[in-house]
C-alpha cells in the first residue's frame, strides 16, 4: 500500500487544477441532457409524432447513427433513450479521455510527476490512482446530477429504475474508456500519441457497433461501446452492461497499474528507437512539418477512408424503404420506388457529408494548432531566428492543414461511393459526391480560418473553435430530431447546404461564407505577424 501514499493529496491537487474544466463539462453534459429530456415531451408527446419518429429511427441509416430501436411499443422516454444513448456516450468518452490524458501522461510530460515522486514522500502509484479517482468522482457527479434531473423531467414512459440506469450507464461508459486510456498512457511516452491510441481504440469500437447494429445487433456485444445500447432503458432496464463496464474498467486500471510499476518514469513501455544521423530531406519549416506530420496524416486519411467504407457498406439497407408493402410498390411503380430509395440514400450521403467534414476539419485544424503548440513548447524559437518570415511559417501550416482536410474529405467520400455503389443495385453517380464535396468546402475553410484568426490574435482562446465546430455539428445532426427553431438551425454553417446532394448548391451562401473566411484569415495573418511569440 505504500505505493499509494498521498493519493488523496494528489487527488485534491487534480481537482484544484481541473475544477473549471470539470464544472464546464459537467454543466454542459448533464445540464443539456436533462434539458433535452425536460423538453422532449413537447416534441414527441402524442402517438402520431411518436410513430413518425419511430419509423425514422427504424431505418438502417438511423440504426447506423444512433443504434437500433428494438421494442415494438414506444413511448416518449424510449425514443429519448434511443436517440441519446450512443450520442451522449460519445461525449462521455471524449470528456473522460481528456481528463485521463491530462491527469496521467500530460502531467508526467510536463515534469510535474517527476518532481512529486522524486522529491516527496508520494507513492509511485499515487498519480495514476489519483487520476482514476478523479474520473470516478467526475462521472459519479454526472450520474447524480443526471439521475436527479431525469427524475424531475419525468418523461411519459420513464421510470426511476430506467432514469438511474441511463445516468449510471453513461457515467460508466465514460469511466471505462478513461481507464483504458490509462493503459495507453503507460505504453507511449507522450500525450499526443496517447490521444491517438485513445481515438483509434474508440473508433474501432464505434465501427464495430455500427456495422453490427445494421447487420446483426446480437454481435454488438463484441464492442464495449455497443454495450451502452444493451441496457434497453425503459424497456427491460438491463443493468448487466453497467456491471460489464465496471469490470472492464477495473481490469483496465489493473493492467495500467501493472504496466506502470514495470516502467521508468518519463518512459513508455514501447521503446523509442534511434534513427539516422543525418538528413538531406529536412530543408526548412515546410519539409519539417511534412516530416513530423506524415504518419498522423496518413493515419487520418486511411482511418477516414475506412470510416467511409463502413458507412458505404450499409447503403443497400439504407436504400430499403421501411414501408415496402405491396400496395405502396404498386402505387409508386418500380421507377417510383427506385427514385424514393435513391433519395433516401442521397439524404444519408448529405448527413455523412457533415460528419466527414467535421472530422476532416479536426484533422486539418490539428496541424494548424500544432504551430501554436510548437511555439509554446519552445521548438519554434530555433526556427524563428532563421531567415524565414512569420507569414511563410503560418502559410506553410495553413496550407498543409487545409490540403490535408480537403484530401481527407474527398478520400472519405470516394470510399463511401465505391463501397456504397458495390452494395447498391443502382449505383449513385459520382456527381452527387462531388456536389457534396464542393458544398462542404466553404464550411471547411470557414472553420479553418476561424482557427487561424485565433492563433493570430488570441491563441489562448483557440479552443473556442472546437466549441463552434461541435455546436454546429450538434445543431445540424441533431437539430431536426430535436425540432430546433429555424433561426437556431441557421447558426450552423452546414444549414446552408442541407439540401445537397439532392439539390444543386446554392451559390449565394458560398460567397458570403468564403468572404467571412477570408476576412478571418487576413486578421489571423496580420495578428500573427505582430504579436509576441510565447516563451
Amino acid at each position: 500500500m505504500a505505493q499509494y501514499t498521498q493519493t488523496f493529496a494528489l487527488l485534491k491537487a487534480n481537482f484544484k487544477r481541473d475544477w473549471i474544466k470539470l464544472t464546464v463539462w459537467l454543466l454542459v453534459l448533464a445540464g443539456l441532457f436533462v434539458a433535452v429530456a425536460a423538453k422532449f415531451e413537447g416534441i414527441y408527446g402524442n402517438q402520431q409524432q411518436l410513430n413518425t419518429i419511430a419509423q425514422t429511427l427504424r431505418s438502417p441509416a438511423m440504426k447506423a447513427l444512433f443504434g437500433p430501436l428494438t421494442h415494438a411499443s414506444i413511448s416518449t422516454a424510449i425514443i429519448f433513450a434511443t436517440e441519446m444513448a450512443v450520442f451522449w456516450a460519445i461525449f462521455m468518452v471524449i470528456f473522460n479521455y481528456s481528463l485521463a490524458v491530462g491527469g496521467s501522461r500530460a502531467q508526467e510530460e510536463s515534469g510535474l510527476t517527476e518532481m512529486v515522486l522524486g522529491g516527496h514522500p508520494v507513492g509511485r502509484l499515487a498519480p495514476l490512482s489519483a487520476a482514476a479517482l478523479e474520473l470516478l468522482i467526475a462521472d459519479g457527479i454526472f450520474a447524480v446530477i443526471t439521475g436527479i434531473g431525469m427524475t424531475f423531467a419525468n418523461m411519459p414512459g420513464s421510470d426511476s429504475n430506467g432514469n438511474w440506469l441511463f445516468a449510471v450507464s453513461l457515467a460508466a461508459v465514460g469511466w471505462t474508456f478513461g481507464m483504458i486510456s490509462l493503459i495507453f498512457s503507460q505504453l507511449v511516452a507522450d500525450s499526443h500519441n496517447v490521444s491517438i491510441y485513445n481515438y483509434v481504440f474508440f473508433g474501432l469500437t464505434y465501427l464495430v457497433r455500427m456495422m453490427t447494429d445494421v447487420s446483426n445487433p446480437d454481435n454488438t456485444w463484441w464492442s464495449p461501446f455497443g454495450w451502452i445500447e444493451k441496457t434497453d432503458i425503459y424497456i427491460k432496464n438491463n443493468w448487466l452492461p453497467v456491471a460489464l463496464f465496471l469490470i472492464l474498467g477495473i481490469v483496465a486500471f489493473g493492467i495500467a497499474v501493472a504496466l506502470n510499476v514495470n516502467r521508468d518514469i518519463d518512459a513508455g513501455i514501447i521503446q523509442v528507437r534511434g534513427g539516422k544521423r543525418q538528413s538531406r530531406f529536412l530543408q526548412g519549416p515546410a519539409t519539417l512539418l511534412f516530416w513530423n506530420q506524415r504518419s498522423i496524416s496518413l493515419f487520418w486519411i486511411i482511418g477516414m477512408a475506412v470510416l467511409g467504407a463502413s458507412y458505404g457498406s450499409v447503403f443497400n439497407s439504407i436504400g430499403k424503404l421501411v414501408n415496402d408493402s405491396p400496395v405502396i410498390k404498386e402505387v409508386l411503380g418500380s421507377n417510383g420506388v427506385q427514385a424514393l430509395e435513391k433519395n433516401q440514400v442521397l439524404s444519408f450521403v448529405g448527413i455523412l457529408g457533415i460528419i466527414f467534414t467535421v472530422l476532416a476539419v479536426i484533422g486539418g485544424a490539428m496541424v494548424i494548432n500544432h504551430l501554436y503548440t510548437e511555439e509554446r513548447r519552445g521548438y519554434l524559437q530555433l526556427v524563428n531566428t532563421t531567415p524565414h518570415s512569420r507569414y511563410y511559417l503560418l502559410t506553410t501550416y495553413v496550407l498543409y492543414g487545409v490540403i490535408l482536410a480537403v484530401v481527407i474529405l474527398y478520400a472519405t467520400l470516394m470510399t463511401t461511393m465505391v463501397v456504397g455503389n458495390s452494395t447498391l443495385a443502382h449505383s449513385l453517380s459520382i456527381r452527387y459526391y462531388n456536389r457534396m464535396f464542393v458544398a462542404m468546402l466553404p464550411v471547411l475553410i470557414l472553420f479553418m480560418s476561424t482557427l487561424v484568426c485565433f492563433i493570430g490574435i488570441m491563441p489562448k482562446l483557440r479552443s473556442i473553435v472546437w466549441i463552434l465546430l461541435g455546436g454546429s455539428f450538434v445543431i445540424s445532426y441533431f437539430g431536426r430530431l430535436m425540432d430546433l427553431p429555424n433561426w437556431a438551425m441557421k447558426i450552423s454553417p452546414f444549414y446552408w447546404f442541407d439540401k445537397v446532394p439532392i439539390h444543386e448548391i446554392n451559390a449565394e451562401p458560398v460567397w458570403w461564407l468564403l468572404t467571412i473566411a477570408l476576412v478571418l484569415m487576413v486578421i489571423g495573418f496580420v495578428g500573427y505577424r505582430h504579436r509576441d511569440l510565447a516563451q
Binding site: 511516452a189 507522450d190 523509442v272 528507437r273 534511434g274 534513427g275 539516422k276 544521423r277 543525418q278 538528413s279 538531406r280 529536412l282 530543408q283 526548412g284 519549416p285 519539417l288 516530416w291 513530423n292 510548437e374 513548447r377 519552445g378 521548438y379 524559437q381 530555433l382 526556427v383 524563428n384 531566428t385 532563421t386 531567415p387 524565414h388 518570415s389 505582430h530 504579436r531 509576441d532 511569440l533 516563451q535
Partner: protein, 306 residues
Amino acid sequence: MNHTLVLDVKGLKKSFGKFEALKDVNLTLHPGEVLGFIGPNGAGKSTTIRVILGLIKSSGGSAKVFGKDAWKESVTIHKDLAYVPGDVYLWPNLTGGQTIDLLLHMSGQTHTGRTDDLIKEFKLDTSKKNRTYSKGNRQKVALIAAFSTDVSLYVFDEPTSGLDPLNELIFQQKVKQLKESGKSVLLSSHILSEVEKMCDTIAIIREGKVIETGSLESMQHLTRNSVAVTTSEPLVKLQNMPGVYQLDFKNDQKTTAEFSVDSDQIGNVMAALSANKILQLKTTPPTLEDLFLRYYHSDNDQKVGE
C-alpha cells in the same frame, strides 16, 4: 559596413501587461567583440535577447542589429545570425543529427567537416531521438548547429547551463575561435568566471535596467581593491583615512589588517602604509563576482561605492 555597430540597443522598454520587464536597456556591440550580458534570473536578459531577435516587440526605445530594426527587418537580420537559447527544446521525433542538419539548412548552411568535428568534440550521439536527450545534450545540438554556421553575429543565452565542465571548456574555446576570426558574440550568462574569461565588454542588468557597461578593467577601476597588509608599526591611522572601508585588524597590535580601498585613493593609502614599514602586502582587484554582488546588494538609488 565595418563601422556599423553590430548591436545598438537604446533605452529599450518592454512591458507584459502591467509588468515592466525592461525599463531602460542600453547595449552596444562592436564588430569582432564579445559582449557579456550578466544579471540574475528575472532581471531581463532573455527578454532583451528576445527583442533583439525580433521574437517579441519592444514597447519603447530602439533595438538595431547590423543597423537594421530588430522587429521590422528580422528576416534579413537572421540571415547573418545564429542563436542558442538557454532552454533548448527540440522536436521529439527527430534525431540529434537530423536536427543539426535541419537547423543548418534553415539558415542556408550545409553540413561540413566542421560540423563533424564539432559533433566529435562535444561527444554527441547523433543517432538518438531528441526526446531521449538530457538538457545538456539538447544544448549540444543547438551549439553544434550554431558553431558550424558561418555568420557575423552569434547570440548565446545562458548556453552552458546544462553542460559539464569539460564541454563548458570546449564552448569557451569555440567562442575564442569565433572572436579570433572576427565574429561578434553576445553572451548572456550568470556563470561569472565564464564571462570574465571570454568577454571584452560586460553589461550588467538589474530589474530591467542596464546599470553598468564597460570592460572588466574599467569596472574594477571604478570600485575597490581589497588589501591585506602586515606592517611593523600599528596601522591606527587607517581608521580615519578617506577611501578605506571594511577595515579589520587581524591582531591586537593592529599591525595586520584587511580592508578595501577606493581605486582613486590607492596612492594615498599606499603612502601611508609605506610610512609604517610594510612587511607583507597583497592587493587583489575585485573579481566579477565581487562586482556583481556589490551591484546587487546596493539599493536601487544607491550608487556603487557609497
